[in-house]
Symmetry: C2
């Protein structure tokens, strides 16, 4: 057990328990209390979003986006096939038809050049997923959205503290570019709360309704502010709020963002440096960060030459107590969707499904553990 190098490990930053005690002492452990407000305000500042609302998961933030974009049966939503089922389910639950797009050849993110051809009169939204925290080409996507009057909803589940670099070299926080952006605080993410998420609302005209949808379709937020004298049921909605227990834990994590990020990026760089010779021999394809993107140290992945090699490498590392894992299965080919898919080949989505490998990544990884992972991989490829 002691020598195991886990793929992921939930990490404390120090103040989590103090803050949970404080929440309980304050007399409020249900949602929308002081820690919720502090987290929201932290995220508003760091992303320049007009408004942030914590949610119980990134899935729930995507569902809120779908409600706020008034997605209706028959509407079409464009998104990459190489993503988690929640990206699609959030819109299917509102009746949308999903149109899946391939990944880029050089990166698992959506191939932005293929989006416009998929737009029809029923298209209502584009959902770029910033895979591994690496930005999609938001200039291209924004241009398509503007030409066809579409919503852009950024699935930034993995993309906290990461940026899109626009044509003028300006760094724009991911999640703050589309009408809506969604973060995840699942235990596998850079900033964690076990389960959790947040919605960024980037246009003022959506703020009022977002608070209502968040609070079970009631105008409770306006009531607490004193804007209305009684609160009632005014719209559809759900219980999207996490508890103050969750928000307290999350706030401790957010306060430690820089320390966490510095360590994750350091680990990422150690992997990248250590594996250079393997990459140069073309035995593994290195992760790619386009010039319009930044790296937030969320994930270190590499692409194997075949599914078979990936399976052998995972097994080889596992024998050395190193836990590496694969990732998404293309959604266009999933049991739920294959009969609904229009038959287009999406070869890169399939390639990443069968050949992408993720290496252990959490801030408590030691440098010697990273070196063990690097030599494990090197041994696998260089042993006779």
């Amino acid at each position: 057990m002691k020598n195991m190098i886990l793929f992921n490990k939930p990490c404390l930053t120090g103040k989590e328990f103090d803050y949970i005690h404080e929440a309980i002492g304050s007399g409020q452990i249900s949602g929308n209390g002081q820690f919720t407000k502090q987290c929201q305000s932290f995220l508003e500042k760091s992303t320049s979003a007009k408004k942030c609302l914590l949610t119980t998961s990134c899935t729930d933030a995507l569902e809120m986006s779908a409600i706020l974009a008034r997605i209706e049966p028959g509407d079409e939503v464009i998104m990459p096939s190489f993503t988690f089922p929640s990206t699609a389910n959030a819109f299917i639950l509102r009746g949308a038809k999903i149109v899946f797009i391939d990944s880029r050849p050089d990166h698992p993110g959506v191939d932005e050049r293929q989006i416009e051809a998929a737009v029809t009169e029923r298209t209502k939204a584009i959902v770029p997923v910033h895979y591994a925290g690496v930005a999609c080409d938001m200039d291209v996507i924004a241009a398509v959205a503007t030409r066809h009057a579409l919503f852009v909803i950024e699935d930034a589940a993995q993309a906290i503290d990461s940026f899109f670099i626009d044509a003028t070299k300006k760094r724009i926080p991911l999640g703050s570019i589309g009408e809506f952006g969604t973060f995840s605080f699942h235990e596998t993410k850079n900033i964690q709360a076990g389960e959790g998420g947040a919605l960024l609302i980037n246009r003022p005209e959506h703020i009022e309704r977002s608070e209502i949808v968040w609070e079970k379709g009631t105008n409770r937020a306006a009531f607490w502010r004193g804007d209305v004298d009684k609160y009632g049921w005014v719209d559809i909605g759900s219980s999207f709020l996490p508890s103050e227990l969750t928000a307290a834990f999350l706030y401790a994590q957010l306060e430690a963002l820089r320390t966490t990020q510095d360590r994750r990026i350091d680990i990422w760089n150690q992997y990248n440096d250590g594996l250079q010779s393997i990459f140069q021999q073309a035995k593994l394809r290195a992760p790619y960060v386009p010039s319009f993107a930044t790296n937030n140290g969320h994930m270190f992945y590499a692409v194997c030459e075949s599914e078979r090699i990936r399976a052998d490498l995972i097994a080889f590392l596992r024998k050395k107590d190193i836990y590496s894992v694969f990732h998404y299965q293309s959604l266009h080919a999933a049991p739920y969707f294959q009969a609904l898919h229009d038959g287009r080949d999406l070869p890169w989505a399939d390639a990443y499904s069968s050949r992408l490998l993720r290496l252990p990544m959490h801030p408590e990884l030691t440098n010697s553990q990273i070196a063990r992972v690097v030599s494990g991989i090197t041994d696998f490829f260089n042993s006779p």
Copy 2:
């Protein structure tokens, strides 16, 4: 501040922090870990449900029920008007038309005698709400459901540890009678986790799909059990799981259920005894527990003669630092629904909206505080 008698106060039972530490130590703080399983198994044993799944809220458990009952646009769902918006929203989000029914004259629960007249060919489900933890007449409701092949989904948000007593005098746990039952662990409930809930699945044929819908539409649960060798997207779903942080807190609360319940029922009885003379003078109407129901000490409510008297009484108590509150606004008359309602009068739902008052209720209320509330009310009615 010291003399304030709060309407509600989140209460610790002792082991909450130990268990949260344990969850973190176990290396899993995302959902469906050891504490989730312990909570689910506790609730399965105490209710005899076939399966229990924790959720992030009772709202989410209701939404899961709506998905599992395959509610579709055009389906009709019958429920009381005197309930929280989530009871309705969960089904409206699936496209259902809601048909609201009046409350009983003697109790805020749905008037079971009015349900059958509201059944049409499009009716798919009845959603009884066990208001104040007091059972609806489930024999009558089950008979209607059987005659018309309808789902029964019990909104048991307030009804943990409460029972329906059937014609043979058997005590049946609320939440375990319909196809599905839903609990809330919001901080205002007997058992709390800040925000939280649970779904009871009472028919074996719904278990497999419930695990899929719960896990974002994937067959991850079957994968972990080893029933399938890869997990993928097989259905619609959402992220309905709370974190292990939440489940750890909740498990501590569940273990202390008996102590909590004994104290709440004791408080309830002290109110009831203390207010007998006011009830006998017919200045306030006492809460009513029908012979087919039990009292779980969730809420002590009373019904005032008019909305004006209620407002005066709330203000009078407030001056004595006692926080009493009103409750739901009839949903058939809510801003969101009034144009959709078919125009039937629902006088008792309106009466409880305007005249029902809830007294402070939490296990840390002291006997002297209860006596202060009782004399506050007595003074209000008996002072010249």
